[in-house]
């Protein structure tokens, strides 16, 4: 009897051991922190729970931007790195030129059930290299929006009956609104003073003027330079008139808004969860978010896309078995991207994007219109996250915003710096 029990125990132990062996570990790298990080973490937990005993994702989060992409590049060049990583579509040309991305074959994609028709054509194509190969699969489209404090806008008479701001379109109106909102120690606007944020706002304004940042291999060519100057001058006006504070770090710019010390705030959709969570705890005023107002001749908003890619680990490629698992993972995350949309993003996967659940999701539905006029970064090896263009923003656009250099000088320096790289 005892023997039987012992045998059974041993057998079950052996079973669990072999089950544990059968579990594959997929190494995952991302750069998602803050609200995005929390959401991705819970999705990863859900995935791991659902696939317990089969697949386990072991995730590492690194610092967004240059630190992350430097690590990816040096790791891939030396045959190291993850099995799957997040990658910005804006950086695809640069990534392909660095040789850090491994192409995904049509067969692999089909086997995992990933279809081009499930994505908007532009979004899908942006994940391709100049060689026409597919290097990544998009997860979302994200952009910047205008967050606003309904109480403060109402007091200033800038809130419409529908609860949305009114009279913000056009430079003159927008400036007047900022001036009106700036009172009693409250700023009209807060924006994060990092290179990434500077670029997103600048690029939005430039495109609203109909300007082109890069045309036929030339940066800010012809009258685009003047348009860039105009955009930077407008940004500088915000701080010069004390409508917005200077030298505001990323977290501080959010804190200014959420503590009611700034009536409006321009930042990525990824900060939506921050507001939602605070509101849920009853620690936030009545707030809303809309597409960036049209200050110039046409609507336009900067946008980028988080996607998934497999690194090209030199001499130590991701094994075919793991690649298969990775593609299944990508598909799973796209199918579950409604949860990701809770992070403010617009899902790239059309079955989710067009679903009734997403259409009902607030506040996303208030700004989803921006997708129609979204402008993506120039397709160039000099553009994208952690690229020379982003560096130039940190080096010239932010100082221009803070009034340290004249807008015209900043625009010229940006043009000259970037043009020098192409030689």
């Amino acid at each position: 009897m005892i023997r039987k029990v012992l045998f059974a125990t041993l057998a079950s132990m052996a079973l669990t051991v072999s089950a544990a062996r059968a579990e594959d570990t997929i190494v995952w790298w991302d750069f998602l922190s803050g609200g995005d990080g929390v959401r991705m973490k819970s999705m990863l937990d859900e995935f791991n729970k659902e696939h317990a005993g089969k697949v386990k994702i072991d995730a590492t989060t690194s610092e967004w931007g240059t630190p992350f992409y430097t690590k990816v590049q040096t790791a891939a060049a030396t045959g190291q790195g993850p099995d799957i990583m997040t990658y910005h579509e804006s950086r695809m040309p640069l990534g392909v030129s660095e040789g850090v991305l491994s192409p995904l074959t049509p067969e692999e994609l089909a086997a995992a059930g990933i279809k081009a028709s499930d994505f908007s054509p532009a979004n899908w194509k942006a994940a391709q290299g100049p060689d026409g190969k597919q290097y990544a699969v998009p997860l979302d489209i994200h952009s910047i929006i205008l967050y606003y404090n309904k109480d403060l806008l109402k007091k200033a008479g800038l809130l419409g009956d529908d609860g949305k701001p009114k009279g913000l379109d056009g430079v003159a109106n927008f400036d007047a609104a900022l001036a009106k909102l700036t009172a009693n120690g409250v700023y009209g606007l807060s924006v994060p003073n990092d290179g990434g944020s500077g670029w997103r706002i600048f690029y939005t304004l430039l495109n609203q003027e109909g300007g082109q940042f890069l045309k036929d291999g030339k940066f800010l060519d012809g009258d685009n330079l003047d348009k860039a100057t105009t955009a930077l001058a407008e940004m500088q006006k915000w701080t010069k008139n004390k409508w917005a504070p200077t030298n505001t770090e990323y977290p501080a710019s959010i804190a200014l808004f959420t503590s009611g010390k700034a009536a409006m705030h321009i930042n990525g959709v990824w900060e939506v969860p921050t507001m939602v969570d605070l509101a849920k705890k009853g620690q936030l005023f009545d707030w809303g978010a809309i597409q960036i107002p049209v200050l110039y001749s046409q609507p336009a908003t900067w946008a980028d896309s988080h996607s998934f890619a497999i690194p090209d680990r030199k001499g130590n490629p991701v094994s075919p078995e793991k690649r298969k698992l990775v593609l299944d993972i990508i598909h799973w995350f796209n199918q579950h991207s409604l949860e990701w949309a809770g992070g403010g993003h617009i899902p790239a996967y059309l079955p989710v994007q067009e679903s009734a659940e997403f259409k009902a999701l607030k506040p996303n539905s208030d700004y989803v219109s921006l997708a129609k006029t979204a402008v993506f970064d120039p397709v160039s090896i000099y553009a994208g996250v952690a690229s020379p263009v982003y560096d130039a923003s940190g080096n010239y656009m932010i100082p221009a915003l803070n009034g340290e250099i004249a807008p015209a000088d900043a625009a010229k320096k940006i043009r000259d710096d970037l043009q020098a790289l192409t030689k």
Binding site: S33, G34, V38, K41, T74, A77, T78, Q80
Partner: protein, 296 residues
Amino acid sequence: MSASVQSADLVAAPATRRLTRLNQIDIVGLLITLGTLIGAIVWAFPLYWGLITTFKHEYEIVRPGVQLWPEHFTFENYVHVLLQTKIGYWYINSLITSGAVTLIVVMMAAGAGYAISQLNFPGRRFFWWMILASFMVPIPALIVTHFIVISQLGLINTLAGVVGPQLIAPVTVIIYKQFFDSVPKDFREAAVIDGANDFQLLFRIYLPMNWGVTTALAIITFIGAWNLFLWPFLAVSSEDKMNITVGITQVHDNFGVSYGRDLAVAMLAALPVALIYLIFQRRVTQAIMLSAGIKG
């Protein structure tokens, strides 16, 4: 206080005129002592402030005002950091790499120092000059080619790859050579007559006679390796291979940023070197004198 007593003792000459002068000087002396004490408190304050913050709740941390002692003492920051980050891995990695660097450097340096000091062999002078030359090379300038070498060896993202470039320690060889030079020749001659070979000489006479030097060098090498940032930062990409100095600055946890936790993880990283210093204070001092070329 004690300083003024001391200076009064020193000047035993009982001239009245001088005594009044001394009293005036003692006030100045007291002021200097007071200034030094205040300076020490100011100097230590950031350490204290960082440490005490880790024992506060987050709401207390961000409250305006200077709260020198937590209202509600808590270990929650440490509990969180220990349970939710990979700090355990980083600690072990730091221990392994710093321990390996220390062991290899000391053994290599003792051997080379002995050979250069006591043996005659072709190339002896050449090696000596090479060591002096490597003293002048800025190691951070070699990061590019160190990365290439480690990658050619297939050691990128391994602990061995972290250790490798840290093994260049010319100062250690120089110090051993100087100390072995000053061991009296009589010991050597007597042992050689007794039939001892060079390995026995090294391990039975030269090293034991300079045990203090070895301890001092080992401690300072360990502290240096524990504190190194640039190379481990470049050589390692995955989270479970990082050492603690890299881990605490490069990994963003997914649970929101918190001042208390950031500082708690920093205090844990500082703990081993702080303890080593407090326990081996005199050896650390000696090692610093040695490395600066002042015999301690």
